[in-house]
């Protein structure tokens, strides 16, 4: 990947709402080229989406999240991708990853109540034939998500004018 494309991605990871003009200024590309690159990156599947990081505790909205560990046993007809596709179907699933170590899948789930989340596990994950075990961990507090800190950053303690 060339350096300009890399800084284009850096800029978007930092702030997906960056305007085309500001992306152009930060990358040294002109605006038309920025648009072109973005289209290419989207088409190739490198840029999968532009979404907001929300601290749900700060709004008047019940939100329960959990990380569910899932163990599976594969057979000749079923591989990891098959199981993953099934689990990913549910809108409650925020992210789904295949892991090394003691369990196979880590599923980030959220819903408007604990019932929602446990319902997802008992009705949509546990019944799958390949699934042998699930462990659900409820999230008690979020401090940082996708690089964004939820705790208020300390004030800048630098002096305002220095050599």
């Amino acid at each position: 990947m060339d350096e300009a494309t890399r800084s284009l991605l850096d800029a978007l990871v930092d702030d997906a709402r960056e305007s085309t003009a500001d992306l152009a200024r930060q990358t040294g590309l002109d605006e038309a080229t920025v648009e072109e690159r973005l289209t290419e990156l989207e088409a190739s599947g490198a840029l999968r989406g532009y979404t907001a990081v929300v601290d749900w505790d700060a709004v008047d909205e019940e939100r329960v999240s959990a990380i569910v560990e899932v163990n599976v046993e594969l057979d000749r007809e079923t591989d990891y991708d098959d199981v993953a596709r099934r689990i990913a179907e549910s809108p409650a699933v925020d992210s789904l990853r295949l892991m090394s170590g003691d369990y196979d899948f880590a599923v980030n789930v959220s819903g408007s109540s604990m019932g929602d989340v446990s319902g997802f596990v008992s009705e949509e994950v546990a019944p799958l034939p390949a699934v042998t075990k699930t462990v659900t961990h409820y999230v008690m507090e979020t401090y940082k998500e996708r690089g964004v800190s939820f705790t208020d950053r300390d004030d800048d303690d630098r002096l305002s004018v220095t050599p």
Binding site: S7, D10, D14, D156, D157, L159, S160, V161, T162, P163
Partner: protein
């Protein structure tokens, strides 16, 4: 941001209850403690500074700082240090060293494994130094700069200083009894130092030349050819060179060029570098000097009496910084680079000419054409008063900075965007 200028905090913090002043007052004057405290500052004070101290004018940075501090809506583009925090690996190494009770002095020259790590690290710039005899760990690059002047400048020696440049060299030369000789670099040359400028200023007769590339305040870097030419001049006129390369890790358009790697230059150059900028470790106060054994011996002689050793906790942090923080440094560099492109584009859109800054985290646009009387100081003051944007007038960095302001992009993009919007309003 909080109050107090580091260069002056002693005077400010002690204020009126300087115990020395009060004590003297009660003995020598009849005015009691209060007048005694005044006597420590007033005309007849026992503490009239030595001539070489008195000869140094007050800092232009400090003057501007005072105006900026009096407002609370200020977006500061005047900060000469990273807005990032030191990488966690470095901070945790400092904490761990304290937990393990590593609170003694180190060897005068610094911990041997840190010196080895430094020597290994700078091979990426083509530099090769023996960690045992050619590396000295100092309390910030600042100390190394001071040591170099004290070790090699005789009273009356001429020390050539390209201008505009970092604020410490001129005063440092004077404290060592030397005479600064300004060498003007130009916007049109991208602020690179040229042999014409060196000849014109009479540097052929000088004893020492100070180089600071990437440069504070211009962000200028020297390309290979420009550096070759300056090196040839230094050899021809037998100059000793002090190369402050503290921004070496922050270059954006090409590899860092060190004068010390040119033929015949290693033996006449002291290279200074540090952890403040690359690792965002300004408050830990750690730098280093590298040079031939005789140079490092002489500097160590001053250092061992004046400083004993650099802060031990910071040395542990620095070792971890070199060993484990390359990714963070690269991440910070890439973010500076995006801000740099952003700021330079915006300045040009606003009609302010600016030479492409290839390193550090500064841009140095010309404001002479839009300032009243072409005066950078007036421009910066009006910008601060009208729009609450602080940028340091170029004159704070020497006469060569006239007509320009320094814009630091060691500030988040959101603030940079707001600052540029305010600057746009100010200019329209």
């Amino acid at each position: 941001m909080n109050g107090g200028d580091p260069r002056d905090s002693d005077a400010r913090d002690r204020g009126g209850d300087d115990p020395t002043g009060a004590g003297r007052g009660s003995v020598e004057t009849d005015g009691g403690a209060a007048s005694g405290a005044e006597a420590s500052e007033g005309e007849g004070s026992r503490f009239s500074p030595a001539d070489r101290v008195a000869s140094v004018p007050p800092s232009g940075i400090r003057e501007f700082f005072e105006i900026a501090e009096n407002r609370d809506d200020v977006i500061s583009l005047g900060v000469g240090e990273p807005d990032f925090t030191a990488p966690w690996a470095a901070r945790s190494a400092a904490i761990e060293s304290l937990e393990r009770g590593r609170t003694s002095y180190t060897a005068n020259r610094g911990m041997p494994d840190l010196r080895r790590a430094i020597a290994e690290r700078v091979t990426r710039y083509g530099q090769s130094y023996d960690p045992d005899s050619e590396v000295l760990v100092t309390t910030g690059a600042s100390e190394a700069v001071d040591l170099a002047f004290r070790a090699f400048v005789n009273p009356g020696d001429t020390v050539a200083l390209p201008t505009p440049t970092y604020v410490s060299y001129g005063p440092g030369v004077r404290f060592a009894g030397g005479e600064p000789l300004p060498v003007h670099t130009r916007h049109e040359d991208g602020w690179a130092l040229t042999t014409e400028a060196l000849s014109e200023a009479g540097v052929d007769e000088a004893d020492v030349l100070v180089l600071c590339y990437p440069n504070n305040p211009t962000g200028a870097t020297m390309d290979a050819d420009e550096m070759d030419a300056v090196a040839a001049f230094c050899r021809e006129h037998d100059l000793l060179v002090v190369a402050d390369e503290i921004y070496a890790a922050l270059t954006y358009d090409g590899d860092h060029q060190s004068v010390a790697t040119r033929p015949g230059m290693r033996e006449r150059t002291v290279v200074i570098n540090g952890f403040s900028k690359a690792y965002a470790m300004t408050g830990l106060r750690l730098g280093y000097a590298m040079g031939p054994e005789a140079a490092i011996d002489a500097m160590t002689k001053v250092h061992q009496y004046a400083m004993l050793s650099a802060p031990t906790t910071a040395q542990h942090a620095a070792l971890a910084a070199i060993d484990r923080c390359d990714d963070e440094v690269e991440e910070m560099r890439r973010e500076y680079d995006r801000r740099r492109r952003y700021v330079v584009s915006r300045l040009r859109e606003l009609g302010l000419p600016v030479a492409e800054p290839g390193g550090a985290f500064y841009a140095f646009p010309r404001v002479a054409d839009v300032a009243s009387d072409g005066d950078a100081r007036a421009f910066a003051t009006e910008l601060l008063e009208a729009e609450g944007v602080a940028a340091v007038p170029g004159t704070a960095f020497g006469a060569g900075g006239e007509g320009h302001i320094r814009i630091s992009y060691a500030t988040g993009l959101d603030d940079l965007k707001e600052a540029m919007a305010r600057l746009e309003r100010f200019l329209s």
